[in-house]
Symmetry: C3
């Protein structure tokens, strides 16, 4: 298994960061196998969605509906409402697997592998790519 | 790794399509390893739930509650409210892994591997099965 | 692939049970690869979240908001509102993968691998750990 930790820049605002090109480069020439994407943070996840037509903003807006940034949360560290960021990974998991065929991600046309982070307290984050040869 | 793309018929209505028998046949005789199920679409996901006692309809109904098919969505292509279908894969991910032992899915008694698609614009879809020998 | 089924005690109350230490022991000395955690039940999932600062209770409370234990569910077996437990695994999936490097889980500082079960009808449950060498 080949595994690498990469830096991701979110800038301290709720973010959907498209990692697809970086994932594609990571598995380029790797043959067949499984790409595993893992977020080593307790307030971020991986979503495979379309970007560029508004769905990334739709996701962040709907997360504000489903997990409101209000005072309901027992977890009270960090910025106000930050407790909701700690519940997010239960619903948008910090792990994803994608098949790789002949060194290429077997994604659909509109699918993009995205880092989802609503935590405003940490502008710099990390993600781990691992490739399991099949 | 053995990998195959299969057709899935949803008929253009919100659907929970049980893929378990097809998955079981795919890994039959394959030994130990991991089945990875992957949906190459930006508006569908994989859920491992019970079917046949109403939970498939419960899931579709609750998705209408949590991701309403209204005009809140920035993504405005396709049928009215279709933007919500593009947020669905963040919550019902397009990937799943299931352990395989001696060529059999290590599922619980009531678990079924299901294709969840609320997109009414595409009656025919695809799913990819991959088996990683362990 | 090495695979083991383990017992998990939930006690018949909505539970977030931290499995991290058990996972770490399972992969100890295993080299590089992927840990797959799988729940063979139709009413429970795996969440990788922080525990010990209230987020486990926050998750259970928010699940009561998003999937209310009321009479909306078509699935009518078991305790009142139990139908919602059967929808839970679509949102909190019963599977997770975690990279393992030199026999250690590549988790972030605050991440814990947790069994999430809101089913009050079954005090004893199971989880399967599988390790795929990479």
């Amino acid at each position: 298994m080949r595994s690498e930790l990469r830096a991701v820049r979110t800038g301290g605002v709720p973010s959907v960061v498209d990692l697809t090109d970086e994932c594609a480069a990571f598995v380029d020439g790797a043959g067949d196998g499984l790409l595993q994407v893992f977020v080593p943070h307790a307030t971020a996840g991986i979503a495979i969605i379309e970007t560029g037509a508004g769905s990334d903003d739709d996701l962040l807006a709907q997360l504000d509906e489903l997990l409101p940034r209000d005072d309901r949360w027992r977890h009270r560290h960090g910025a106000p409402g930050h407790g909701r960021d700690h519940v997010l990974p239960a619903f948008v998991p910090p792990h994803a697997t994608v098949p790789v065929l002949e060194g290429r991600l077997a994604l659909g046309t509109w699918q993009r592998i995205c880092f989802v982070d609503t935590n405003v307290d940490n502008p710099g984050r990390h993600v781990r790519f691992s490739f399991l040869p099949g």
